[in-house]
């Protein structure tokens, strides 16, 4: 069944369409292009919720104890007299983190572009299994529905932080969010993981088996390398999170003691004996850290493609770029302990994790330098997608460098779990990955929706967002270095932090403006779907195969034969050619040599 769809399309007579009803075309579609749109739109919807939540708790942080109409309007009884309840604050940061990391930047980013680009860029009719692909999307949809539904639970959604460390997450006595809200969180994530695994397996099989003639691994565009390796990391690490979730469910509902021991709460000694919360931390971060790269690598892949295309230059150091993706992927699975330097685990283990963690800086540095060199002596076409890609490199550097501070177990002692960490990971994986998502949307919008997005709105979107991103997260490092812990409902309980209040106001103002800028994007996105300027065949003059497929989406991607590939994806401005780009399906000229890479 799984490869049947692909084999079906091997033949040449590809012109005719299958009879499709509305349901099979738009709802239960097995076509990767439609599934990618479904992922994108669901991801954007979840993104709106996630970002709106962050604005709400930013308001609370800037003006604590101040009654606000918007609080009572949106939170109702959770904001008595217009002031957010502390439990609700924790719930908002928890769900914000969960939604942004998993639903927007994992499913929304990887799901959208892996689905759209893997078949189109490697020259395949569709994913290896259209059916699994469809199931993967609908499981994601189901998990999104459950996660959103958990917001409406009487006692509130999960509120133990997106890492949901037990015992806080295991005991309903510990906080109201650890009741039904947490159950729904766990169920939603279990389904999400199933969805992610189905998707990842499909991507891996498709890339390995369905490449068109001539598309060797060393000719793969970097986007595909990134999606491929991301899928591998996902398959390796997501199951571990599933096991953590299942064990936590057992502790919560069936009285086991995997993560719990010696607990006295609300005047009662509980029966749990012999478990350890540190075990949960290990299991969680065994996924949790690779997850950072599951979020980031696709964004970097997208950026590689967009920077090369818009610089009209080959990506600098293709081999080094692939090698650094592989190195990052490998290292990402052996660094999880750097989240746990002060968890009580053996300090020697901390030394080992410091070592592996700081090693990651090396392939990351190689990537950053290679991007910069790609720009050098280019002919930069500063389209919105290109701006977001350059912006990504900028935030990747700014955020990545502070990783050297945090990855060092010694320095981590005093900045661990402070706002310094919040600033660090938002820049390096949050903002960077979001920029990757935006860059991808601006760049491949014509491929997805047959129309162009408005570039001036794109410029407005980028510049406001770029300024605000630094405006929000740069000052945040100072709050962290002042010693303020994250996940504090307010800092007013400590007069010592009174001088941080005005920095919090500055951050919130930037955050609100950044939020407004996203409305420009949303407007541009929706408006362009219906009224955008119809696209040309290859608007960005790009080399990759997706631009040879007809603008009008057809099942099977190409009429007739799938194009054959004769060169790598980065023959931009090659000497001896009139055009500044040579698509991959153009055969080598007589006497032309393919670059050895």
């Amino acid at each position: 069944m799984s490869t049947a769809a692909a084999q079906l399309h091997e033949g040449e007579d590809h012109g005719h369409h299958h009879k499709e009803t509305f349901i099979t075309k738009y709802v239960f579609s097995q076509d990767h292009k439609m599934i990618s749109k479904q992922y994108l739109i669901t991801g954007l919807f979840m993104g709106i919720i996630g970002i709106a939540m962050s604005l709400l708790f930013r308001l609370q942080l800037a003006w604590p104890e101040q009654p606000m109409g918007i609080m009572s309007a949106l939170l109702g009884k959770w904001a008595p007299d217009g002031v957010m309840d502390p439990n609700v604050y924790l719930a908002l940061v928890t769900i914000h983190g969960t939604i942004m990391v998993f639903f927007v930047l994992t499913a929304g980013l990887s799901g959208t572009f892996s689905n759209l680009l893997i078949p189109l860029q490697i020259g395949a009719r569709d994913m290896a299994s259209g059916l699994l692909n469809m199931i993967s999307y609908w499981l994601f949809f189901l998990s999104s529905v459950i996660m959103v539904a958990s917001l409406f639970v009487e006692a509130g959604p999960a509120a133990a932080g997106w890492t949901i460390y037990p015992p806080l997450s295991a005991l309903p006595q510990a906080q109201p969010g650890s009741g039904l809200g947490m159950t729904l969180w766990l169920v939603s994530m279990a389904i999400f993981i199933a969805s992610s695994l189905l998707g990842s397996l499909n991507y891996i099989v498709t890339v390995l088996n369905l490449r068109t003639k001539g598309m060797t691994m060393s000719r793969l565009p970097l986007t595909i390398w990134a999606f491929f390796i991301t899928a591998v990391i996902g398959v390796v690490s997501f199951p571990v999170l599933l096991s953590a979730a299942l064990l936590l469910i057992m502790d919560r509902s069936f009285g086991t003691s995997f993560f719990l021991s010696d607990i006295f709460i609300q005047g009662e000694v509980l029966h749990y004996q012999g478990g350890s919360p540190v075990l949960y931390e290990h299991l969680f971060w065994f996924l949790g850290h690779p997850e950072v790269y599951i979020v980031l690598l696709p964004a970097l892949g997208i950026t590689s493609e967009i920077i090369a295309t818009n610089s009209r230059k080959p990506i600098f150091g293709y081999r080094a770029m692939v090698a650094s993706i592989l190195a990052i992927a490998f290292l990402s699975t052996i660094v999880w302990g750097h989240h746990m330097f002060i968890s009580g685990m053996n300090p020697f283990l901390g030394s080992v994790f410091t070592f592996t963690t700081l090693l990651i800086a090396i392939p990351s540095a190689v990537k950053a330098f290679n991007y910069i060199t790609t720009l050098w002596k280019g002919n930069l076409q500063l389209n919105p997608a290109m701006l977001f890609s350059i912006g990504l490199v900028s935030t990747f550097i700014s955020g990545g460098l502070t990783g050297i501070i945090l990855g060092d177990s010694t320095i981590d002692i005093n900045v661990h779990d402070t706002y310094f960490v919040v600033a660090h990971f938002h820049l390096v994986m949050g903002i960077s990955a979001l920029y990757g998502l935006f860059a991808g949307v601006y760049h491949w919008f014509p491929k997805m929706f047959k129309r162009m997005m408005n570039k001036n709105l794109g410029y407005l979107h980028f510049w406001v967002t770029a300024i605000c991103a630094y405006g929000v997260f740069f000052p945040m490092h100072f709050i962290g270095m002042a010693g303020l812990p994250r996940r504090y409902y307010t800092s007013t309980a400590f007069p010592y932090f009174d001088d941080l209040a005005n920095i919090n106001v500055v951050i919130t103002v930037f955050a609100l403006v950044a939020g407004a800028a996203q409305l420009v994007f949303l407007y541009n996105f929706i408006h362009s779907i219906f009224y955008g300027k119809p696209t040309e065949q290859n608007p960005w003059k790009s080399n990759t195969l997706e631009w040879t497929a007809p603008i009008e989406h057809i099942h099977g991607n190409w009429e007739g034969k799938i194009p054959e590939v004769h060169r790598w994806a980065y023959d931009y401005s090659k000497p001896g050619h009139e055009d500044d780009f040579i698509p991959q399906h153009i055969p080598l000229k007589k006497g032309e040599e393919e670059l050895q890479h």
Partner: protein, 354 residues
């Protein structure tokens, strides 16, 4: 009502954006309506890239100038000096790299902005260059790793020595308690099972079958003698907490079911700390802010805020529930004589349960 109003405003904004883009397009009739960057776009966006570089440097300098004084004062513990050194060396390195890479990135984006008819340089590889920028980070990081690990081992190796003061930090939702080992220097065994003994007077669950526990002293305020090593044993009775003492560069999680450790030697008493220039300036600034805030409170008929006096803090730094943000304990570092006097004034466990 507010939601309706918000939605109306959003709709109006959307219409406004639509109209502005319409006007923008109509005002440029000569140009082809293309949504691909042209030379004009490349020029002004390239210039903005350069401006953005200035913005990044500007916000860095501005933040240090304006907010440099919120950073923690120099460490008040022995290992904290080493910590501070390592941190500032790391910061020097990352600032250096940040300045250069951001400058190159944005300058190139400005300098090589596209023009019609220009052709980019076909430059796909340079093994030597790549080797250089692989090896330089390797060397820099090797240095940082070695220095970091050396310091880490130094800090985390807790040696039981006779002179050290043994203190248990006991965490629960949402307060801290400290238990001193008493004259025998040994903490009595304890478990949450014993918390309900003696009508709840057994605050940290000391096991009465262990004779070492009777001279233990349980308090709600942490006193530490200057110049003597303190070995902390952390416990939690309910969920994860983290004992964070930022001024001493000290932190360790409190984990139910296990005992975690951290040790440091305080070097500056609270009184000395209050007299340092950094802390004086900070307290002055905070009190100015508090006076301003008090004015608003008094206008509303509420009480004014009390003036702030510096004290070392113990904070909870692991999300632990609704009042996580207010789980704190005062730390007082004093001279050994003052400390001895204080501790002898406290009730021992034996006295409490009598």
């Amino acid at each position: 009502m507010t939601i309706l109003l918000t939605l109306t405003v959003l709709a109006l904004i959307a219409i406004a954006i639509w109209q502005i883009t319409k006007i923008f397009e109509l005002s440029q009739p000569k140009k082809k309506n293309t949504q691909i960057a042209d030379d004009d776009d490349n020029r002004w966006n390239g210039q903005l890239m350069f401006a953005f570089l200035i913005f990044i440097f500007g916000i860095t300098i501005f933040s240090f100038w304006k907010w440099g004084d919120v950073l923690l004062p120099g460490a008040s513990s022995e290992h904290g000096m080493e910590y501070d050194n390592l941190m500032w060396i790391s910061f020097a390195i990352i600032f250096f790299v940040q300045t250069i890479t951001q400058a190159l990135l944005h300058y190139f984006a400005y300098k090589y902005r596209g023009e019609k008819g220009k052709k980019a340089l076909f430059y796909a590889d340079n093994d030597r260059l790549e080797a250089i920028w692989t090896i330089i980070p390797v060397i820099a990081l090797a240095g940082l790793i070695l220095y970091g690990l050396y310091t880490w081992t130094d800090i985390m190796t807790v040696e039981e020595n006779e002179d050290a003061l043994i203190v248990e930090l006991y965490a629960q939702q949402f307060n801290w308690k400290a238990r001193y080992a008493g004259e025998d220097g040994v903490l009595g065994d304890a478990n949450v099972r014993f918390l309900q003994d003696f009508d709840g007077k057994n605050l940290v669950g000391i096991d009465v079958t262990d004779p070492n526990g009777f001279d233990d002293v349980v308090v709600q305020e942490l006193h530490l003698p200057k110049g003597r090593e303190v070995i902390f044993k952390m416990r939690s009775q309910d969920v994860l907490h983290s004992a964070f003492m930022p001024h001493f560069r000290a932190q360790m999680n409190c984990v139910p079911g296990m005992i975690t450790e951290f040790a440091f030697t305080p070097t500056v008493t609270t009184e000395e700390m209050r007299q340092t220039a950094d802390v004086k300036a900070k307290v002055k600034k905070i009190n100015t802010i508090r006076r301003e805030n008090s004015k608003a409170l008094i206008a509303k008929g509420e009480e004014a805020l009390e003036p702030y006096i510096f004290d070392y803090l113990l904070l909870c730094n692991k999300i632990c529930g609704a009042s996580h943000y207010n789980m704190q304990m005062k730390i007082i570092v004093e001279t050994p004589e003052e400390f001895e006097k204080w501790i002898t004034d406290q009730q021992t466990f034996a006295e409490v349960i009598q």
